[in-house]
C-alpha cells in the first residue's frame, strides 16, 4: 500500500508505544536491571598508549576477599591475524583483541583484565592488584605520526606496498579520467583539510547483566543496537553455541552507531560462567570516552574543477581516516558519499585506513560520510564564489538524479536530491537578511541507507487486539512508526496495537539497528506479516459466510463481502473474528523472516546562519534549516527528530567536539565537561523540512532518514563562518581558541 493523501495513520503524530514508561522513569535500560545473587564486574585498562604485554599475574586479585572471578585474554577465543573472520562489517580478529588486549595494549584504556566481585568497590580494588608486565613501546596518535617513514608499527602483519606500515587498508573509486577533466576546467581549486575524532556521545554508558545457568543457558541483558549481533559475537568469543544464548535488548539510551559492536558482554559472560553468579558491568563515562567509539579523525585533500557556467567537470579526493588500534575505519563512507550528490563525469576518490594508538573506531551516524562531505562541500563553496554563482544553484546545476551513475558504482533510482536544493532555494531562510559578523552557509550530503534481514510477528489477541514484535532495537521511535503502519493496514486505531522488540529467542534474526535500515526493513516484514493476518481474517469470514475467499475484502478493520455478495452479510470485525478464531481454525497470526532489498539513498541539504563573537571567538548558530528527501514520513515527529538530532551532532563536530591527547598519549578530556557536546543553550530551534519522494520499492515508500542529516552539517557551519568572517577553516573544530587565533 503506497501511502497517499487517504492515509488514516501513516503520517500521523501518534503517541509512541514505549512513551509512558520513558516519561515516568519505568523504562528498563541495561543498567537498570538486577538479579538475585548478582555481583559486579570491572575492567582493568591499559595505562599506556602502546605496550607489549609480557605477562599478567592475577593471583593477588583472585586472593582478595569478595573476588569471585578474573578473566584475561587467555579466557577469550583467539582469532589469529592471518585468517579473516568477517561478521557483518566487523572482523572477529579485531573484535577479540578489542574486548581484551592480547599481544599488546594498543591504546590508553585498552582492557587488560576483568574482575567480578561482590561489590563494585572490591572489583575496582582487585583490578589494582592485577600485576601486568608491560614493555612500553613508542606510539603514534595522529595520522601524520602514524604514516611517516619511521613511525612505530602497531601490527607486524599489516603491510603496505610490501612494507610494514600503519596503512591497513585502501579503497578507490574511479569514474572517467580526472586529468582530462581538470584540463577542461576553467577553475580548479585544491585544498587540504583535517577533522578530529568525535564520540557518538550517547548519554547511556555501555552496560550489561549476564546470567549463566548451571546447564550453560546464558541470558544477556544489554544496551546494544543489535541483540543478534550481541549473541553472535559473544558466542564466537566464548564458544557458547548461539542456541544457548538469549540476548535481550534492553531499552537503549542512544547509540548513533557506537553500540553496533560489543565491549562488556563477553567479559561478563565469562565472569558469570566462572563465578556461577550473575554479573553486572557498567562503564563509567571516562571508560566510554577512553575505550569505545569514536569515529575517525581524518586528513584529506580535495580538488574540484569546474567550467565558467558551473559545470563540475572533475573531482578528486584523498582521505586518510584513523582506525584506532585495530583496522577498520569507515573509508567506504568517506570515499563514496563525498561526491555522491553530484553528477560529475570524472571522479577519483581514494581512501586509506590508518591504524594508530587510539581506541578502535566504531560506526557513527553515516560512518565516514561527514568526513568525506566536509572537504568537498567546502571546496564547492569556494568554486561557487570563484565563478560568481550562488552555491545552491551550483549544486542544483550538478545534482545527481534518477539514472545518474555514481562514482562509487550504482545507477541511482528515484531520488530527491535536486528537490532538497530547490526547496532550500525557495525557502525564506535563504533570503533572510544577515547582520554584522553573521554569515550563511549551505551544504549537501548523501547516505547509502541499508536493507537486509528483518523478522516480524503479528498476532491477533483473543479479544481482537494486536501485538507486533520485531527484531531491531528501537533507538528513536521506530515502534511508533510500526504501530502507524500496522494500524493503517488493519484499519484499526493504533492504540489497539502493542509493539515490542523481541529477544533472540522470541523473534527471528534481524540485522542490527544501523544503516538507517530499521523502518525500511521492518516496515516490509510487518507489512508482509500483517498481510498474512488479513488473508487469514478474510478466509475465516469466507468460511463463516460460506462464500469464496476472493469475495471477501478487508476494509476499516472488518471483513466485508464484496462483488456479487456485497451487502448480503453483515461485516465481521476483528473482535468478532478473534472471538471465533478457535472454532474456525485456530489462533490468528502471521510472521515473516526476510532479507529485504530495495533501500534507496538519502539526500539532505542544509542552510545555516551563524554569528561570530569576535571578542571571544565563539561561533553561535542563529538559524538552521535542513531539507531532506525522507521518502515517506510514517511518523513525522520522529523523522523531524532524526533531522534535528543529526544537525545538532554536526554542529558539535564542527564547533567544539574533539579528543585531546596529552604528551603521554592519554585522552585528556574523557568527560562531558571538557568534551563539549552542544547543550540546550548552544542551539536555536532546528527547522526540518521533510520532502517526500516515496521509495517505489517499499510498501509505504520508506527510505532511511537517520543518518543523512548529519552529513552536510560540518560544511554548512564552516561555510557560514567563512561567509561571516571571510576566513576559511580547513580544520575542525572551529573552537573559540582556533577562531580567536584566526581573527
Amino acid at each position: 500500500m503506497m501511502s497517499d493523501g487517504e492515509n488514516k495513520w501513516i503520517g500521523e503524530r501518534t503517541i509512541r508505544p514505549d512513551g509512558a514508561d520513558k516519561v515516568t522513569g519505568r523504562a528498563a535500560f541495561a543498567a537498570d536491571t538486577a538479579m538475585p545473587g548478582m555481583i559486579w564486574g570491572k575492567v582493568l585498562r591499559s595505562p599506556h598508549p602502546h605496550a607489549a604485554i609480557r605477562g599478567i599475574d592475577t593471583s593477588k586479585a583472585e586472593a582478595l576477599p569478595g573476588v569471585k572471578a578474573v578473566v584475561t585474554a587467555a579466557d577469550i577465543v583467539d582469532f589469529p591475524f592471518d585468517t579473516p573472520v568477517p561478521l557483518g562489517i566487523q572482523d572477529m580478529r579485531w573484535m577479540c583483541r578489542n574486548v581484551m588486549a592480547r599481544e599488546k595494549a594498543l591504546f590508553h584504556g585498552h582492557p587488560i583484565a576483568a574482575v567480578a566481585a561482590t561489590s563494585e568497590a572490591i572489583a575496582a580494588e582487585a583490578c589494582a592488584l592485577v600485576e601486568v608486565d608491560y614493555e612500553i613501546l613508542p606510539w603514534a596518535i595522529e595520522i601524520e605520526d602514524a604514516i611517516k617513514p619511521d613511525a612505530p608499527i602497531l601490527h607486524d602483519f599489516v603491510k603496505f606496498d610490501g612494507k610494514p606500515s600503519n596503512i591497513s587498508g585502501k579503497l578507490e573509486h574511479v569514474k572517467g579520467d580526472v586529468e582530462d577533466g581538470f584540463n577542461e576546467a576553467d577553475v580548479v581549486i585544491e585544498r587540504d583539510f583535517t577533522t578530529r575524532p568525535v564520540h557518538q556521545g550517547y548519554i547511556e554508558p555501555h552496560a550489561c547483566l549476564v546470567s549463566v545457568a548451571a546447564d550453560g543457558q546464558t541470558t544477556i541483558w544489554s544496551s546494544s543496537q543489535g541483540q543478534f549481533m550481541v549473541r553472535a559475537m559473544t558466542s564466537m568469543l566464548t564458544r557458547i553455541p548461539q542456541s544457548k544464548i538469549r540476548a535481550i535488548p534492553a531499552e537503549i539510551g542512544g547509540g548513533f552507531g557506537g553500540k553496533t559492536i560489543i565491549y562488556l558482554e563477553p567479559l561478563a559472560t565469562i565472569l558469570a560462567k566462572k563465578s556461577g553468579r550473575p554479573v553486572k558491568m557498567v562503564m563509567t563515562r571516562e571508560e566510554v570516552m577512553r575505550a569505545t567509539g569514536p569515529t575517525s579523525g581524518s586528513k584529506s585533500t580535495v580538488k574540484i574543477g569546474a567550467k565558467r557556467d558551473g559545470t563540475i567537470i572533475a573531482a578528486e579526493g584523498t582521505f586518510y581516516l584513523q582506525a584506532g588500534g585495530l583496522p577498520g575505519s569507515p573509508i567506504r563512507g568517506a570515499t563514496a558519499c563525498a561526491f555522491a550528490p553530484y553528477d560529475i563525469p570524472n571522479v577519483h576518490s581514494l581512501g586509506y585506513d590508518v591504524v594508530c594508538n587510539r581506541s578502535k573506531v566504531a560506526a557513527y551516524r553515516a560512518p565516514g560520510a561527514p568526513i568525506g562531505a566536509f572537504p568537498v562541500e567546502c571546496v564547492l563553496d569556494e568554486v561557487a564564489e570563484a565563478i560568481g554563482m550562488d552555491p545552491l544553484e551550483l549544486r542544483l546545476k550538478n545534482a545527481a538524479k534518477e539514472g545518474t551513475k555514481a562514482a562509487h558504482g550504482p545507477v541511482y533510482p528515484v531520488m530527491g536530491y535536486a528537490e532538497t536544493v530547490e526547496a532550500a532555494l525557495a525557502h525564506p531562510h535563504s533570503k533572510a537578511p544577515l547582520g554584522k559578523h553573521q554569515g550563511r552557509g549551505v551544504a549537501s550530503g548523501f547516505w547509502f541507507n541499508a536493507a537486509g534481514e528483518s523478522s516480524a510477528q503479528v498476532n491477533v489477541t483473543e479479544d481482537g487486539n494486536v501485538v507486533v514484535t520485531t527484531g531491531h532495537p528501537d533507538i528513536g521511535g521506530s515502534r511508533a512508526s510500526i504501530a502507524n503502519i500496522t494500524a493503517e493496514l488493519l484499519g484499526i486505531d493504533y492504540k489497539r496495537i502493542s509493539v515490542l522488540i523481541g529477544d533472540t529467542a522470541t523473534i527471528g534474526f534481524s540485522n542490527l539497528t544501523g544503516g538507517s535500515r530499521v523502518l525500511f526493513s521492518s516496515g516490509i516484514a510487518v507489512t508482509e506479516s500483517t498481510g498474512k493476518v488479513i488473508d487469514t481474517l478474510r478466509a475465516r469470514a469466507a468460511k463463516i459466510w460460506e462464500i469464496d475467499v476472493d469475495a471477501v475484502i478487508w476494509e476499516d478493520g472488518e471483513a466485508r463481502p464484496a462483488g456479487d455478495n456485497a451487502g448480503k452479510f453483515d461485516p465481521l470485525t476483528l473482535e468478532e473474528l478473534a472471538a471465533k478464531a478457535n472454532a474456525m481454525g485456530g489462533p490468528i497470526g502471521g510472521g515473516a523472516q526476510l532479507n529485504t532489498v530495495g533501500a534507496a539513498g538519502g539526500f539532505a541539504t542544509h542552510v545555516c546562519d551563524v554569528e561570530v563573537d569576535i571578542d571571544l571567538g565563539i561561533v553561535r548558530v542563529l538559524r538552521y534549516t535542513s531539507f531532506q528527501d525522507v521518502g515517506r514520513a510514517v511518523h513525522p515527529d520522529y523523522v523531524e527528530g532524526q533531522m534535528q538530532g543529526g544537525v545538532a551532532q554536526g554542529v558539535g563536530w564542527a564547533l567544539n567536539e574533539e579528543y585531546i591527547y596529552d604528551k603521554d598519549g592519554k585522552v585528556d578530556n574523557p568527560g562531558f565537561l571538557d568534551y563539549r557536546m552542544p547543550v540546550c543553550s548552544d542551539l536555536p530551534m532546528l527547522d526540518a523540512v521533510m520532502i517526500e519522494i516515496p521509495n517505489p520499492l517499499h510498501p509505504q515508500g520508506v527510505r532511511g532518514v537517520g543518518e543523512a542529516p548529519l552529513v552536510p552539517a560540518l560544511a554548512a557551519v564552516s561555510n557560514a563562518v567563512y561567509n561571516a568572517l571571510g576566513i576559511r577553516f580547513d580544520s575542525l573544530p572551529m573552537s573559540p581558541p582556533k577562531v580567536l587565533e584566526a581573527l
Binding site: R13, I15, R16, D18, G19, A20, K22, V23, T24, G25, R26, A27, A28, F29, A31, D32, A34, Q200, G201, Y202, I203, E204, P205, E251, I252, G253, G254, G255, F256, V282, T284, R285, I475, G476, G477, D637, Y638, E640, G641, Q644, G645, G646, V647, A648, Q649, G671, F672, L673, M677, P678, V679, C680, S681, D682, L683, M685, L686
Partner: protein, 159 residues
C-alpha cells in the same frame, strides 16, 4: 567503615536506609531503593540525567552524598505523576515527541518541572539556559524546548 543510618522523605513518603559515608544519593536510589528512573550518564554532574530535587532545589544525585538526605525532602521522576495521571510536562513530552531514546528524559522532566515551579512564564532563552545542564544527544533540544514552553502556556491558561 560503619554505615550511616539516614531518615528522609522521598516523593512524600518516609524512607530509611543505610549508606556508606562516601556513597552517592544516586547509587543508593538506584542500587538500594529501586528508584532507577534517575540515570548515571557521567557521574560528574555534567549531563543532568540523574536530576532530582533536594528540598525543592534541582541537584544532580551523582554529586550528592546519600547521607545529605537526612531530614530532607527528595523528589524524583518516580514521584512526578500522580498515580496514572501524568504530570502535564510528561503528557506534553509524549504528545510532542520530545524524546527519542529516552535516557535523558527523566532528568529533563525533573529539571523542566523545577523551572516551571520557579518561573511559570519562561522565555525560550530562559528554558534553554535552565536546561543547559541536561544533555540530550538525540533531539537537538528543539522538541524539548517547545514542549516545555507549550506546557508552561497550558498551565498558565488553566491556573
Amino acid at each position: 567503615m560503619a554505615k550511616i543510618h539516614v531518615s528522609t522523605t522521598i516523593n512524600g513518603e518516609p524512607e530509611e536506609f543505610l549508606c556508606a559515608p562516601d556513597e552517592t544519593m544516586l547509587d543508593v536510589m538506584r542500587n538500594g531503593l529501586g528508584l532507577t528512573g534517575a540515570k548515571e550518564g557521567c557521574g560528574s554532574g555534567d549531563c543532568g540525567a540523574c536530576s532530582i530535587t533536594l528540598d525543592g532545589t534541582l541537584v544532580c544525585a551523582c554529586l550528592m552524598l546519600a547521607a545529605e538526605a537526612e531530614g530532607a525532602e527528595i523528589g524524583t521522576i518516580e514521584g512526578m505523576a500522580e498515580g496514572e495521571a501524568l504530570h502535564p510536562l510528561q503528557q506534553k513530552f509524549l504528545e510532542m515527541a520530545a524524546l527519542q531514546c529516552g535516557i535523558c528524559t527523566p532528568g529533563m522532566l525533573v529539571a523542566a518541572k523545577s523551572l516551571l515551579d520557579e518561573n511559570p512564564d519562561p522565555t525560550e532563552t530562559e528554558v534553554r539556559f535552565w536546561l543547559a545542564g541536561n544533555l540530550c544527544r538525540c533531539t537537538g533540544y528543539d522538541k524539548i524546548v517547545r514542549a516545555v514552553l507549550d506546557t508552561a502556556q497550558d498551565l498558565r491558561e488553566t491556573a
